[in-house]
Assembly symmetry: C2
Homo-oligomer: 443 residues x 2
């Protein structure tokens, strides 16, 4: 069913038919359809869903639509949905809801759950604590495989995953993990303690989501235990949330690398004013930094007043330098993100980029030397442009390769050392090189 | 154990100790240590590993180290490792190996396997066919849960995943999927056909990996069936490979957006010459495109000859326009990648970006108008710069927002419409706007 068919059925008030056709779809697809509807229609369609899939669909909705629906349904309906949500989805929702709704939910929760919710709401955004769920299967090392399986059958239905089970002692300390695959494939009478993996990789509640994403990528895990400072198991993180984290972190990197204040809101749902606000700060900083080129130019008016021909080539030189520098910084920033480059590689990267700058500058300089010589028969200008391109390429690639690593060392985000900043720096350097070479050749 | 401890132990020839300490580590960590060793040492350490983990470690090694080790060990050892690898890892390895090794492996394979390997080697890179594995659990709809579980116990050990099982008819047509969770939680006597999900999302062998990654992101799947044109199940794709795909596609986008020919080789393992080669083509194209600014400048020498003061502000104006345009294109490209923006949003995006341009241009223009008026007491220059910034901001944001969507519509990769190209275009437009406004105000 596509959105137009759905709109038509809503117009015809063919609710029974809508219901029949919706239940055949994947929950994620139902959510996508509902997101495209107006508030009132969204609510009507949402209410048509059978209770057992309504909560699942809710979890797939974006946060705006979740909030809208929460406001419009009765407290009882909302309480039911929230109760059905996985614990991590519940927390995500509560983080976005107005205070009165949060209060209402906390009022209905049991003492134990209220304490848990409050604790989770206090975890820092993007930390392991805020990503994890408490719905995992815990086993004991002295259980037989048969006992473990019957425990899984008993409690598994409410757990987010049963494919990795966590073995703890009676003080909740993590002793090992065992996969459902191992349990299924092992003889019934074996002990969990015999088949569990004891070399467990875990994270702490305060660890950053980027660290967690890297662990999942490296080890191909489906889930990862989160422990407190006494190695007590407090939650688990599952791969589906990590996939979202990877997307989020990537989007953030793209935004930072284009000098935009990062946000996880969708482009289409932001107003122009919000978009402009997130883009202005860096533009202003970069613009004022760029005024340094005015001073460099003004210092050299004695040259340009004499040789007006010099002006025409400046934009091309600056943009080429900027592009070369941005290539270097992009490659190095991505290398740092993927863990391929660290501070120990600093000198190696610089040396590599100097050589890259020479190759690139040599080619670009040679091409332009030839072009200007052929088109304008001006050997001096051709030499100035050719030599400047070599100088500017080497400078730009070196700066572009160096700054992200230095930023990382200074605990700044390397992504901010991207295109716009590098361009601003190379613009100034290009002008300095250009005027210096011009002075030597022309005067 | 870190690399220095390992090197010391190798020096001391303390092989037994190396072995004992290695087996306690995760396979991914062992692989990482081996990758850092020289060829000869890598081989020595690799050979110390117990047979049962050697193949797993091998699968985690990067392709260069895999090739090195493959060359150095005996045919028999290699045959053993390759036999133990998951089918998709096996194919990945074969794709990178020299022809004689591939021949040797094909010689040792059974007829059926040889046919399969040849078929897989022919799938296009980055297609579902090249990503999938044939090691899945297939069930029949008329099996009871009990029978299904005992089939999983029997064949599960050699399968890449047993958490999603695939229900096929006797012509291998896909009828449904059932998760191990459902099997474990269902009564033994139920039929697989009763509990399986029949609304199955599948892909075809020729589908692109980007499409596949988006399906995993949307539906939170752990695996996805791949079918041929007659809906016969030919393989499955698992989430761990998709995480790698997402990284790969992201890296490619970053590279394209910085005007670099994409490559999946690591930065540090490429020579400067290779790096330069991948960066030169676009730099040359952009450089020659940028020479258009020369013509614009030369056309306007009648202005600049008279008013030398104009020159100083050009670099700042161009870089600000470039930055604003790059912000827009980055946001829109990312929006397209995440499926948030498509061609239907074309006009909405343009309208949004015009407004953003006005906000941004108004602020930047106002700030600069004030700055120049205060510092230089030059009302005319202040007005020229202020108005140019408004014009250039609106043009840059509009072009930056428009081109990625147009590229997508023309079946080009939106990522190529990024920073460097947008900057080159806005540079020229900025100059035209600047000279036009200057002419009006000064002449």
């Amino acid at each position: 069913m596509n959105i137009n068919e759905l709109l038509e059925l809503i117009n015809e008030k063919a609710y029974k038919q809508i219901r029949t056709r919706l239940v055949d779809l994947q929950e994620a697809d139902i959510a996508e359809l509902i997101e495209e509807l107006e508030d009132r229609d969204a609510l009507i369609v949402y209410r048509l869903l059978p209770k057992e899939i309504a909560a699942d669909v809710f979890a797939f909705l974006d946060i705006e639509t979740q909030s809208e629906i929460s406001m419009l349904i009765s407290e009882k309906e909302l309480a039911y949905i929230i109760n059905e949500l996985n614990f991590d989805d519940k927390i995500d929702l509560l983080e976005e809801m107005p205070a009165n709704v949060v209060k209402m939910i906390l009022r209905d929760a049991s003492d134990k759950e209220r304490k848990l919710i409050n604790q989770f709401l206090n975890y820092k955004e993007a930390s392991a604590g805020s990503l994890m769920t408490i719905e995992f299967v815990d086993l004991r090392a002295d259980m037989t495989v048969e006992n473990a399986m019957s425990r899984i059958r008993r409690i598994g239905i409410t757990k987010e995953t049963i494919y990795t089970c966590f073995v703890t002692d009676n003080t909740r300390r993590l002793e090992g993990i065992v996969t459902l695959k191992e349990l299924v494939l092992s003889p019934q009478e074996h002990l969990v303690g015999e088949i569990m993996e004891t070399e467990v990789i875990s994270v702490s509640t305060t660890d950053d989501q980027e660290v967690i994403a890297n662990i999942f990528k490296k080890y191909d895990f489906l889930s990862l235990p989160v422990v407190d400072h006494e190695n007590r198991l407090v939650g688990i993180i599952t791969i589906d949330d990590v996939v979202d984290v990877i997307e989020e972190e990537t989007t953030e990197d793209f935004q930072k690398m284009a000098a935009i204040e990062p946000s996880d809101m969708e482009y289409m749902s932001m107003t122009s004013f919000e978009l402009a606000k997130r883009r202005l700060m860096w533009l202003v900083i970069l613009m004022f930094s760029a005024t340094i080129t005015e001073y460099i130019s003004n210092e050299n008016t004695y040259l340009t007043a004499q040789f007006a021909i010099l002006f025409g080539v400046i934009p091309m030189l600056m943009s080429t330098g900027g592009n070369a520098g941005a290539q270097s910084s992009t490659l190095v920033i991505r290398g740092i993100t993927l863990g391929e480059i660290d501070f120990n590689d600093f000198l190696a990267v610089i040396w590599k980029e100097i050589k890259v700058g020479l190759y690139i500058g040599g080619t670009l300089g040679g091409l332009n030397f030839t072009r200007i010589l052929l088109l304008r028969q001006d050997l001096k200008l051709a030499s100035i442009v050719g030599l400047t391109l070599i100088g500017t390429s080497v400078t730009a690639t070196t700066v572009g390769g160096m700054l992200p690593i230095l930023a990382k060392k200074l605990k700044l985000d390397p992504a901010t050392m991207a295109n716009p900043l590098i361009t601003t720096i190379t613009d100034a350097l290009t002008l300095i090189i250009f005027f210096a070479i011009s002075a030597i050749i022309l005067l």
